[in-house]
């Protein structure tokens, strides 16, 4: 027997013990939308929330008032407070990877050293154009927000979006990878001149430095050495902070929400996340299946019956009247929707069976994209009542209808 726990979003958001919510999932499934919708809902239910978004859609950023990349949370206006729940607030920010990186350098190094690092070609390449930096910086920013929230009491809930990385838990691995980098033998090799007699590293050293100078030219080696030496002093601190953020993610106040669309690949990816989160002992709140095709209880005839009837109308020949053509088209639309929804339900059931006991919620596919507070609020509402059992009666008002 499988248990079918429902992800109770309101209970999660209302619980004052919930301090951090992390939305993860594969590319394009709705992580940013979900993060913003959860943040808005929590704020309107009385919490003081900050949401860290990563590359939000332009129009969404505009309606949150964060289209300028300035790395500081902006107060979001236009909240509709739930009366009787105190006054919540919402601030939003968008990750600016380069300035987050620069800030770390400036805060950790002496002004002289900072200037040296910020101008180094390897630093510039690393902080602006190398993939993976975004993951490091998302975690850094989360740590900063958390410190600020704790020290100043500005926020009591942080909602975090994650980058659409190759395997979307790269942000978990980022601190580890950075530590491995700083502790690696290759780095010690590069720092050898700065750290004493090269022969301590063994006999390979001269061959290696010679080889590298041949390949790269000696000035490159120098730039690299300066860079690595400078970073080492700065990033001792960074490494500690990354480790702290990592344990913050494991803390009981953190809740991971895995977002997926009802498709095979996205759910496979979600399975992978669930396993990883388990391995890393990160607390899972549940899975959100976003963009479900809804049948609204409207399924009356089967796909085959609808298509047969459409064919029968079509075969009336070229003299088929207008009403016949309308009906045939409507039946095809119907069949397409029922077929899609059936496949999606099947995928969701398979997933649930594979992850017995994991709380789930679903959000229907809206007709247009979600780009303003009204849209986010609607997603939040749908999430809160989105029991995956979906035997729901047709709502009085159709939630999937676009606003005009």
């Amino acid at each position: 027997m499988t248990s079918r726990p429902r992800l109770d979003v309101d209970a999660l958001l209302d619980d004052p013990q919930t301090k951090i919510v992390v939305c993860c999932g594969s590319g394009g499934v709705g992580k940013t939308t979900t993060a913003a919708a959860l943040a808005l809902r929590a704020a309107e239910r009385g919490r003081r929330v900050v949401v860290l978004t990563i590359d939000p859609a332009k129009r969404l950023a505009q309606s949150l008032g964060i289209e300028a990349l300035d790395n500081t949370p902006r107060t979001v206006r236009g909240l509709r407070q739930d009366p009787g729940r105190g006054s919540g607030s919402l601030a939003a920010t968008m990750l600016d990877m380069k300035s987050t990186f620069d800030e770390v350098v400036v805060s950790q190094a002496t002004p002289d050293k900072a200037r040296q690092i910020l101008g180094n070609p390897f630093y510039i390449a690393l902080s602006t154009s190398f993939a993976g930096t975004q993951e490091y910086m998302a975690m850094e920013k989360l740590g900063q927000l958390h410190t600020q929230a704790t020290a100043e009491g500005t926020y009591d809930l942080i909602v975090v979006d994650t980058p659409p990385s190759r395997s979307a838990l790269d942000f978990l691995d980022a601190p580890e990878r950075l530590s491995a980098f700083l502790d690696g033998r290759f780095i010690r090799l590069l720092m050898a001149p700065a750290r004493g007699p090269a022969r301590l590293l063994g006999s390979g050293i001269s061959m290696v430095t010679h080889a590298m100078s041949t390949i790269l030219g000696s000035h490159v080696l120098e730039d690299m050495q300066t860079f690595v030496a400078a970073l080492d002093t700065v990033f001792g601190g960074f490494r500690q902070r990354a480790a702290r953020t990592y344990s913050l993610l494991q803390a009981p106040g953190t809740a991971f929400v895995v977002v997926a669309t009802p498709e095979r690949d996205a759910l496979d990816e979600a399975s992978y996340f669930l396993n990883r989160l388990g391995e890393e002992q990160m607390p899972l709140a549940g899975v959100i299946v976003n963009r479900m095709t809804e049948l609204e209880g409207g399924e009356v005839v089967t796909v085959e019956q609808a298509l047969d009837a459409a064919a029968a109308l079509g075969s009336a020949g070229s003299q088929a009247d207008r009403s016949a053509r309308v009906c045939a088209g409507l039946l095809k639309v119907y069949a397409d929707r029922v077929a899609t929804a059936t496949t999606q339900l099947q995928y969701r059931e398979d997933f649930r069976t594979a992850h017995d006991g994991v709380p789930m919620a679903s959000v229907p596919a809206l007709i247009s994209d979600v780009h303003d507070l009204d849209g986010l609020r609607m997603v939040g509402e749908l999430l809160a009542k989105g029991s995956p059992k979906s035997g729901r009666k047709t709502p009085a008002k159709d939630p999937t209808k676009p606003k005009r």
Partner: protein, 349 residues
Amino acid sequence: MPADQPSTRLHVVTGKGGAGKSTVAAALALALAGPGKRVLLCEVEGRQGISRLFAGAPLGVTEAALTHGLTPGPGAGLGQPGGEVFALHIDPEAALREYLATYLHVGPAVRALEAFGMVEFATSIAPGLRDVLLTGKVYEATKPTRRGKGALTYDAVVLDAPPTGRVTRFLTANAELAGLARMGPIKNQADSVMATLRGPQTAIHLVTLLEDMVVQETVDAVSELRSAELPVRSVVINRARPQLLEDELANSVAAGAVRPQDVATTLSRAFSISPGSRGSARPPDLGFVDTLLRWGTQHTERRRLENVERDRLYALGLDLTELPAHPGPVDPTTLRDFARDLSQSRIAR
């Protein structure tokens, strides 16, 4: 290059994550592998999206035969067998060893670098260097004459590239390296790679969906690629919603100009013509008519929004190709249908 020696075409397929890059890259490789042609399909992300598509074993780190290309349909060449599609998972560590062996010509130095964790450093810690290696390998595969005994040459190379957010950086990693290295063999190699990627034999295709955010990312990527002087060729619209209701009829449904009573009458006619073996569960009632009209209206609204996105893509002035949404995951048969669609479009030329 002499005129009679056709250049290897390099097709770079990018797009927003999940838009269908691997699907389109694979279908394009099949489409290009007509009779007598040999095509290489490369993957660089280590995700094995391609082997999943072909329901086969994971791609190896050496070039291996994957499948045969498209057999020609009615018309020219009917009955001829399709060409060959080879596949390669470009592994950064293997590429680095090859690279070092080429530039150092000596085993011991390479081994020393390996012992110091250089391979690990280069491939996992410094993604920029990884991109240099990966694009370097792609470049090498497009050469009309290649190093190594028994190395094959290809009529076309199709690259399942990183997503739009990273593709410009990926493709220009060698330009950045050339800037850092300033001179020497590394710089020369980096310059040659860039000359190929920016040259007339390369064509970049962007896969998109008809959704606001994906289209926006596509439009942004086009201008980013163009300002990096990279040759953007076409846009592939993936998962286009089929037109199930003619526009004019759809509009009257959406405008509420279709009378439910008329629909009910016509429906009962339809269900009585085709009670068939499968029979009608129950006679269509007005509730059913209501559902049909509501879903028809929603379908029309979605199509209208898709057309807004189509117009934005048309404005880019690139070749546009569409692949339909297929219900359920894409299997090898569907992939060949997609290949046929692509072979009839300009992107396969």
